[in-house]
C-alpha cells in the first residue's frame, strides 16, 4: 500500500519558479506518467518526490506521512535514472546488493532477493559482470533490478528510455509495463515522449510551465484535450491548428477558414459552441480525423492541394496547404496520392476541436478561465 500525494508543491530557483503549485493524488499501484516539453517542471517534480531537491513550498505525502524533511534514503522509494547511474566499479550483483546492504539485511536475505530480481528481469547471467560490459538494454534492466530488489513503496523513473535506440525503447517500454503488472507498485514515470506516456500510463499528467495542464486517462487526453497545448502535445503526428472564425448562418454553425472555406459543424455539437458564434478561434483537427473522401454524417468534403507525401507503410502522411497553412492527414496507403495533385478528402467534424484564440482553452472541454 502506498499512496502518494502532492499538495500545492512549488519549487523556485531564485526568482525563477520551476514548479508553480502542483496538486496530485496518486493511488496505490497506479502508474502515473508526467509528460511535457523540456523545462516544464516534470523532472524537478520527480526529484522533489525522490528528495533530491528541496521543495520550496507545499507538502509531499507518502502513505499519510509528510516526507518533506526526510532524506532520499528514508523515503522508501527507488529511482531509475536516465543514464542508469550504475556504480561502474561494482559488479551487477554488487550494484543491486548496495541498497540492501545499507538496510543491513542478512547476507542470505540479500542473496535471495538478488536471485529473485535477476530472474524476474532475466539478468541472472549478467550478475558477475560490470556495467561497462553491458549493452544499453542490459544496463536498463540492471537499473530496474536495483530498484525492484528493495520492494519500495514508490518507483520513480526519470526518462529511463531516452538513451536507447528506437527499437529497444519499444521493447523496454513493454518490459516496464510487464514489470508493473507483475509487481504492482505505485509508479511515477517522467518522459517527454507522449507515445511512452500514452502506452504505459494508467493516468497521464501533462505539465506545462511548472503547472499541471491536464491529467486523465490517455484516451481522455487524446479525445478531450482541455487546451491547445495538450491537444498539440498528445497525439503523433501532432494536431493541425488553423486560424478560423465561428460563424452562424440561419440555424447552421460553421467554422470559416482564412480563405473563406466553410466547414459545417454537425448538429449534435452545435449547441456547445453556439454561444461562441462570431468569435475568432483556433480550429484543431487531428491527422487521423482527415480521411479519403467519404460520405458520412458529420464528415465535410474538402479538396486538398498535396505538397508532400511521407509513406509509412500502412498509412501515408499527406501534407497539404489549407488557406496558407500546412495541414497533415494520415491517409490509408491504398488511396493513391502524389505530391502536387488535388486530392478529395473529408474532415471528420465530429472530432474537431475549437480553442479560444487568447486563452487557448478548448471551447468544448476547456478549463475554467
Amino acid at each position: 500500500m502506498a499512496r502518494l500525494e502532492l499538495r500545492n508543491v512549488t519549487k523556485s530557483y531564485g526568482i525563477y519558479e520551476a514548479v508553480r503549485g502542483i496538486d496530485l493524488n496518486i493511488k496505490d499501484k497506479e502508474f502515473v506518467v508526467f509528460v511535457g516539453p523540456s523545462g516544464c517542471g516534470k523532472s524537478t517534480t520527480l526529484r522533489m518526490i525522490a528528495g533530491l531537491e528541496h521543495i520550496s513550498g507545499g507538502e509531499i505525502v507518502i502513505d499519510d506521512q509528510v516526507v518533506n524533511r526526510l532524506g532520499p534514503g528514508k523515503r522508501d522509494i527507488a529511482m531509475v535514472f536516465q543514464n542508469y547511474a550504475l556504480y561502474p566499479h561494482m559488479t551487477v550483483r554488487d550494484n543491486i546488493a548496495f541498497c540492501l546492504e545499507q538496510q543491513r539485511l542478512s547476507k542470505g536475505e540479500i542473496d535471495k532477493r538478488i536471485a529473485q530480481a535477476a530472474e524476474t528481469l532475466h539478468i541472472t547471467e549478467l550478475l558477475e559482470r560490470r556495467p561497462g560490459q553491458l549493452s544499453g538494454g542490459q544496463r536498463q534492466r540492471v537499473a530496474m533490478g536495483r530498484a525492484i530488489v528493495r520492494d519500495p513503496k514508490v518507483f520513480l523513473f526519470d526518462e529511463p528510455l531516452s538513451n536507447l535506440d528506437a527499437k529497444l525503447r519499444v521493447k523496454m517500454r513493454t518490459e516496464i509495463k510487464r514489470l508493473h503488472n507483475l509487481l504492482p507498485t505505485t509508479t511515477v514515470y517522467v518522459t517527454h515522449d507522449q507515445i511512452e506516456a500514452m502506452t504505459m500510463a494508467d493516468r497521464v499528467v501533462v505539465m506545462n510551465k511548472g503547472l499541471v495542464e491536464q491529467q486523465g486517462v490517455p484516451q481522455q487526453l487524446y479525445f478531450n484535450p482541455v487546451s491547445k497545448f495538450v491537444a498539440g502535445f498528445i497525439g503523433s503526428p501532432s494536431m493541425n491548428f488553423l486560424p478560423a472564425k465561428l460563424v452562424t448562418e440561419g440555424t447552421g454553425l460553421f467554422v470559416e477558414l482564412k480563405d473563406g472555406t466553410r466547414l459545417a459543424i454537425p448538429e449534435a455539437r452545435r449547441s456547445r459552441f453556439a454561444s461562441a458564434g462570431g468569435k475568432d478561434v483556433t480550429f484543431g483537427i487531428r491527422p487521423e480525423a482527415i480521411s479519403g473522401s467519404q460520405e458520412r454524417p458529420g464528415w465535410v468534403p474538402f479538396h486538398a492541394n498535396v505538397e508532400l507525401v511521407e509513406p509509412l507503410g500502412s498509412t501515408n502522411m499527406v501534407y497539404f496547404n489549407v488557406a496558407g497553412d500546412i495541414c497533415c492527414a494520415s491517409l490509408d496507403s491504398e488511396i493513391p496520392v502524389t505530391a502536387g495533385a488535388m486530392l478529395p478528402v473529408s474532415i471528420n467534424m465530429n472530432q474537431m476541436h475549437l480553442f479560444d484564440l487568447e486563452t487557448e482553452h478548448s471551447l468544448l472541454c476547456g478549463k475554467a478561465a
Partner: protein, 288 residues
C-alpha cells in the same frame, strides 16, 4: 590484426612518416634515458674507473664498492633513505587525508564563499616556497617542531595541498551527479558514499596526488636543509650534497652516482606503478 600488418597496409609515404616518427621517438627516449643509465652504470664501477679517461659507459668489473662507501657518509645511506621514506609516507598520508575531503566538499557541496575560498587556496600556489622559509622556520620553532621529521612533513603537506585539493575537486567533479543521487536514494550515509562510491571512482586523482606528494617530498632539498640540523634526521638529497662536498670539497663521483641511483629508483618504480592512474587523473574533468 597486428601492428605490423596495419603498417604494411598503409601507403608508402605514410610508412615513411611512421618510421621517421619511431626513429625520432627513439632518439628522444635515448636522450632522456641517458643520464639515468649513466648514473646507474657508474654506480656499479670500481672507484678507480669512475674518473678514467677515456670514459666508458659500462665497466667489465662489477663492483658494489660505491654503495659500501655510501654507508660511511654521515649516519649511512640506509638511515637517510628511511628518513626520506618516513617523510614521503607522512606527506602522502596527510595530503590525502586533507585533500580528499576538501576536494569532495568543493566539488559536491554548495556553501557561502565557496568560490572565494577556493581561489584563496589556489592563490597560495603562487607564493614561492623559498620566500616564506623564514616565517616557517619561526612557526616550527614556536611549535617545537623544528629539527623534527613531523615538522618537515607538515611543511611539505602545506605546500602540496593547493594542487592536491584542485586535483581532487576535478576528480570528484568528473563523477556524474546521478551516481551520488543513486547512492543517496539507496540509503548511503555521507561516509559510505565517500568510501564505497566516490573514492574508488576518484582513485586516479588520489594516485596522482600521492605521486606528486611523494616526488616533491622525496626530492625536496632546501627546506630539509634549513629545518633539520640533526645529522641523523637528514634526508637523501642532503646526503647527496654531503657526498659531493666531502672532506676538502673533494667529490666522490662513484659514491655520488650510487646515492643518485638509490634516490632515483623509488621515484621510477612509483611512477611506473601509478602512471596508468596518473594520466587519467590529470585529464579527469577535461571533457565530459
Amino acid at each position: 590484426m597486428t601492428h605490423a600488418n596495419v603498417a604494411a597496409g598503409r601507403p608508402f609515404s605514410e610508412r615513411i612518416g611512421h618510421v621517421t616518427f619511431l626513429l625520432v621517438s627513439l632518439l628522444l627516449a635515448i636522450i632522456f634515458l641517458m643520464p639515468i643509465v649513466w648514473s646507474v652504470a657508474n654506480s656499479f664501477k670500481p672507484a678507480a674507473e669512475a674518473l678514467a679517461n677515456p670514459v666508458a659507459l659500462f665497466s667489465k668489473a662489477f663492483s658494489l664498492e660505491n654503495y659500501r662507501r655510501l654507508e660511511d657518509v654521515g649516519a649511512g645511506w640506509q638511515i637517510y633513505a628511511m628518513n626520506s621514506l618516513l617523510i614521503a609516507a607522512g606527506t602522502i598520508i596527510l595530503t590525502i587525508l586533507v585533500s580528499v575531503p576538501a576536494g569532495y566538499g568543493f566539488s559536491k557541496f554548495r556553501f557561502p564563499g565557496q568560490s572565494l575560498i577556493f581561489v584563496l587556496v589556489m592563490a597560495t600556489m603562487m607564493i614561492p616556497f623559498q620566500s616564506i622559509l623564514t616565517p616557517l622556520f619561526l612557526i616550527l620553532k614556536f611549535l617545537g617542531l623544528q629539527n623534527s621529521l613531523f615538522g618537515l612533513v607538515l611543511v611539505y603537506t602545506t605546500f602540496q595541498l593547493p594542487f592536491s585539493i584542485f586535483m581532487m575537486r576535478n576528480a570528484f567533479d568528473a563523477i556524474p551527479a546521478a551516481l551520488v543521487e543513486a547512492a543517496r536514494i539507496d540509503g548511503a550515509s555521507q561516509w559510505t558514499l565517500l568510501r564505497r562510491i566516490l573514492m574508488p571512482l576518484a582513485l586516479p586523482g588520489v594516485a596522482t596526488v600521492a605521486m606528486f606528494a611523494f616526488l616533491n617530498s622525496w626530492n625536496e632539498f632546501l627546506a630539509a636543509l634549513i629545518f633539520i640540523s640533526d645529522q641523523n634526521k637528514f634526508t637523501l638529497p642532503i646526503m647527496l650534497v654531503n657526498v659531493s662536498s666531502g672532506i676538502y670539497g673533494i667529490i666522490d663521483w662513484g659514491a655520488l652516482q650510487a646515492g643518485i641511483t638509490v634516490t632515483m629508483i623509488p621515484c621510477i618504480l612509483l611512477f611506473l606503478a601509478l602512471q596508468r592512474y596518473y594520466v587519467r587523473g590529470l585529464t579527469a574533468g577535461a571533457v565530459k
